[in-house]
Symmetry: C2
Subunit: 124 residues, 2 copies
DNA sequence: CGGGATCCAAAACGATACTG
DNA sequence: CAGTATCGTTTTGGATCCCG
């Protein structure tokens, strides 16, 4: 009789993977990067200023993750000083548009949420 | 001349707030809870089994956050043993449907992402 | 300029024990 | 049953220094 070689079924792997991808695009900086790149391509430092106060580490990490997933295209020009442009891939553009719509939806309902919170908090 | 009383402009507060709400609905357990409640209402332990291996602490925390935001309705029946039913509010249903669509979109593109990752990783 | 490497503080998370 | 409280571990994130 064969021993089970996979403790965790493939279904789980699948879920974990999709969850991971979802987290990449909805992460704190992921959202802001995708939305920024929706308007145009950006250089590293440019993007950093555009996004707000993100540390170099987090921005680099976010960009690498998104590039690895195939959402962001990295164009490093072999010049001195270095110049690296980031832009969305077609897949990334789709993702960014969806994230953008989601944030729009949330922002349009902030009043409702704020009201709900006040009601919740003001309850003994 | 007046002194600025707000170091951080309201715009920032607004962004932080919407970011927070977005994180609540896209969080690890938030997503799963919303999607589960999309099919029907659940009791606490029921929901826990349905979602998978979420700790009591995290499930309680997630539900409280979503309830506070006005996405989830909590119905505690005064019986012994306690019985608490969780369901979506109309606002929560809207949110859940959007999250569900987003996860569907991601899952439909997992192959593309996996291919991109292999290409990225296999590069010297 | 665009990062990589390292270190450290803070926050998230899970397991467990306990309560009404 | 439906949580709360506490604790220890793991993760995360930022600051800093460094290099091509």
């Amino acid at each position: 009789m064969e021993v089970r070689t996979t403790e965790v079924p493939d279904v789980d792997r699948f879920c974990r993977f999709s969850r991971a991808v979802l987290e990449h695009v909805t992460s704190r900086w992921g959202v802001l990067v995708l939305i920024a790149l929706l308007e145009r391509s950006y250089r590293f430092s440019e993007l950093r200023r555009r996004v707000g106060d993100v540390s170099e580490k987090m921005l680099a990490q976010t960009l690498q993750t998104l590039e690895r997933d195939g959402f962001v295209h990295r164009d490093a020009k072999p010049v001195i000083p270095p110049r690296v442009d980031y832009s969305l891939t077609p897949l990334g553009r789709e993702a960014a548009e969806r994230i953008w719509e989601l944030t729009r939806w949330v922002e349009a309902r902030l009043d409702q949420v704020a009201t709900a919170q006040e009601s919740y908090d003001g309850r003994p």
